[in-house]
């Protein structure tokens, strides 16, 4: 069954991946609530959607990692769209691992932005959807969450925790038939990776977005994007430590 004509909140709608997801969903007649922290950029994304579709597009401005404000933002999203049928948590930050390793306060910001605050959004969505007996939860994790590495273990730990958290929420909502999807992209060519030289392993945000929507269509629980990462991560996860610890990755 294809995901269409629903009311969707995208938390972090200015992300490159999220922009492409929004295009596909708006094209399928979904009413969109776009949340982000920069009004100008939300406007740019909204103008594009409005030119392409006749569907309603609402904007929600705020710091998405600031948990104190979540209740209020979430109520505003519900009010704007007259209810919600899906929540997609897409924002995130890569952070600076070196800084974080040296100064935990920095590291904690990475954990909070990618895990704690994301978990708060997922909680709000879970409570609403459980009450109404329907809904769809999607959050973008990362292959980095599959195994801790010296080069990004703050980010990786946050994404791994998010994966586990979604697992629990999925367990809780299973009786109601509410899908909870954890998206695990590999390298994607977006502003987040602008400083990393591009290799053929990089996918385009549009490709990832198509994969996300396809996984929503089939109500998947976990999806690696592109699919080849499933195998790569299987190997990486199962490497014994005496081998893994010699790798410079």
């Amino acid at each position: 069954m294809s995901f269409a004509n629903r009311r969707v909140l995208i938390v972090g709608a200015t992300s490159a991946i999220a922009q492409d997801v929004a295009r596909i969903l708006a094209g399928r007649g979904c009413a969109m609530v776009l949340a982000g922290r920069r009004a100008e950029r939300l406007e740019a994304v909204a103008a594009d959607l409005r030119a392409r579709t006749a569907t309603a597009v609402h904007l929600l401005e705020g710091d998405l990692a600031a948990i104190d404000g979540h209740d209020k933002l979430f109520s505003r999203a519900i009010a704007a769209a007259g209810g919600l049928d899906a929540v997609i948590v897409a924002y995130g930050v890569l952070g600076d691992q070196k800084e974080a390793a040296a100064d935990f306060a920095r590291g904690r910001e990475i954990l909070d932005a990618n895990f704690t605050s994301a978990a708060s959004w997922v909680s709000l969505a879970a409570n609403l959807f459980e009450r109404q007996g329907s809904g769809h939860i999607v959050a973008i994790g990362s292959v980095a969450g599959d195994r801790g590495r010296k080069t990004n273990y703050f980010y990786g730990a946050a994404k791994g925790a998010l994966d586990l958290f979604l697992q629990g929420v999925r367990h809780r909502l299973a009786p109601k038939g509410i899908p909870v999807l954890c998206v695990k992209p590999g390298f994607v060519d977006t502003p987040m990776t602008a400083h990393i030289p591009k290799t053929p392993m990089f996918a385009s945000p549009a490709e990832i977005a198509q994969g996300i929507v396809a996984a929503m269509d089939s109500r998947k629980s976990v999806v690696y994007l592109p699919g080849k990462w499933r195998l790569v991560m299987f190997v990486l996860r199962n490497l014994p430590e005496f081998v893994f610890n010699k790798l410079n990755i």
Binding site: A16, E40, A44, D48, A51, R52, G95, A194, P197
Partner: protein, 443 residues
């Protein structure tokens, strides 16, 4: 939230960038521009240049040792007027993306080059022309407004009639970075094109067919043989179909073939091209064939083979496209074909077209009244010598070369072909430069 990886201020990654001709090979920083509200990122001590899809063949989209700002992420629509067919979009939006958007709505780009993989910014900065030049003019003739971002941080919304507008259309990216373009689309009934393909035996027939077709056919182009019997070829003319029902675009992306590796250089040798031309010509058994075809194979026959430039091998390919005025033009075209034939160098795709007289919107626009001939060669020493000889043939009749397809014309030739380059220098942004510009103005 400071400290959290907002790395957008970074100065780009240094990489090798190629243009479509895969020559020259240059190393430069690549900075991606993501949003219109961002300031221009200019690395200290380096010049910058906007880079779209890199579909220019030579070095006009390259900035060796400096930086290019990729516009590929600027691909949002700002506004679309469905009643008037006016589209305002970010400069990195490609014709491919625009076609997907506008064809189902009954609109078509007013001018399109032979590939759909160009950005709107690139189309403006080269003032590109298409098969309808004889009636429509160039892309710049349809630009109603655009926003230019200059190295000093200033922003300018430009309109036709302004000097900076004239300098920026066909301005080779040197007047600043175009953030968005507003242009007029043309209404169409459906996605089909009525086509006639006519076998022609030589240049006389080409000119007669062009004269006959210009008033009633919107799209004209000829493919000519330079290997077996120069001047012989196929004359192709098309009009948007009006008989069929408006039909939506078929869903889903067309399958695309990608050339998986660099072909060995002999693959495109003289003999295989001769054989190909022979086949192509013979395929057309009747003198005139009529068909109604989808717009895609009509306008973009090469696009179904992604990265076909790799067929030319590692050395890369050299395009050579000239415009010669009517006075002396037909004789010059004959001389060019003869010289090419005599040299034994095979041009794979040789395209000939008569151009219209609508004045171009840019100071350095390539297109103008006359005849245009495009040749392409695998790059090699003999080819370069041949092209120098061809340059002098067109110089004699007051012709010029197309910078979008050039990697080798001399500075002296460029300055002779484009005498307005001095006036243009006045509008050039000092923070911007390109490999091409340094080559043709400093040598």
């Amino acid at each position: 939230m400071h400290g959290l990886a907002d790395r957008r201020g970074h100065a780009g990654i240094r990489v090798t960038v190629e243009s479509w001709g895969r020559y020259p090979k240059t190393a430069q920083r690549v900075i991606s521009r993501e949003w219109r509200d961002e300031p221009l990122a200019i690395p200290a001590g380096l010049s910058v240049l906007a880079h779209g899809m890199g579909r220019s063949y030579g070095d006009s989209c390259l900035n060796d040792g400096n930086a290019v700002i990729s516009t590929r992420r600027l691909r949002r629509i700002l506004e679309f007027d469905p009643a008037e067919g006016v589209l305002r979009c970010e400069a990195g939006m490609t014709l491919d993306e625009i076609l997907d958007f506008c064809v189902p709505r009954g609109w078509f780009p007013p001018v399109t080059p032979g590939t759909r993989f160009v950005t709107v910014g690139g189309a403006a900065a080269n003032d590109v022309h298409g098969k309808n030049h004889h009636v429509a003019g160039c892309f710049g003739n349809f630009v109603r407004a655009m926003e230019l971002l200059r190295g000093d941080g200033s922003r300018h919304v430009l309109h036709p009639g302004q000097d900076l507008f004239r300098a920026t259309i066909a301005g080779l990216g040197l007047t600043g970075l175009i953030d968005w373009v507003e242009f007029q689309l043309k209404p169409i009934g459906n996605r089909w094109i009525d086509v006639e393909t006519i076998r022609m035996g030589g240049l006389d027939e080409f000119f007669a067919l062009s004269r006959e077709s210009e008033p009633s056919w919107e799209y004209l182009v000829a493919w000519v043989d330079t290997v077996v019997s120069p001047g012989r070829g196929l004359f192709i003319r098309g009009n948007h179909d009006t008989a069929r029902e408006p039909s939506a675009r078929t869903a889903g992306k067309k399958p695309a073939l990608r050339v998986p590796f660099d072909f060995p250089s002999f693959a495109l040798g003289r003999f295989s091209i001769g054989a190909f031309n022979e086949l192509f010509y013979r395929k057309q058994l009747r003198r005139v064939s009529r068909q109604t075809v989808d717009y895609e194979p009509f306008f973009y026959p090469l696009d179904s083979l992604l990265e076909w430039n790799r067929l030319y091998g590692k050395a890369g390919l050299l395009q050579w496209q000239c415009l010669v005025p009517w006075a002396g033009g037909p004789e010059a075209v004959a001389a060019l074909l003869k010289e090419t034939h005599r040299s034994g160098q095979a041009s794979f795709l040789t395209v000939l077209k008569t151009m219209g007289s609508k004045p171009a919107a840019g100071m350095l626009s390539f297109a103008g009244p006359g005849i245009t001939l495009a040749l392409d060669f695998q790059r090699g020493g003999e080819t370069l010598k041949l092209l120098d000889r061809l340059d002098s043939i067109i110089a004699e009749v007051g012709g010029r070369l197309y910078p979008a397809k050039d990697a080798r014309m001399s500075g002296a030739s460029f300055r002779e072909f484009y005498p307005k380059w001095r006036e243009f220098e006045w509008f050039r942004d000092p923070a911007f430069s390109s490999s091409f510009w340094r080559r043709v103005t400093e040598a």
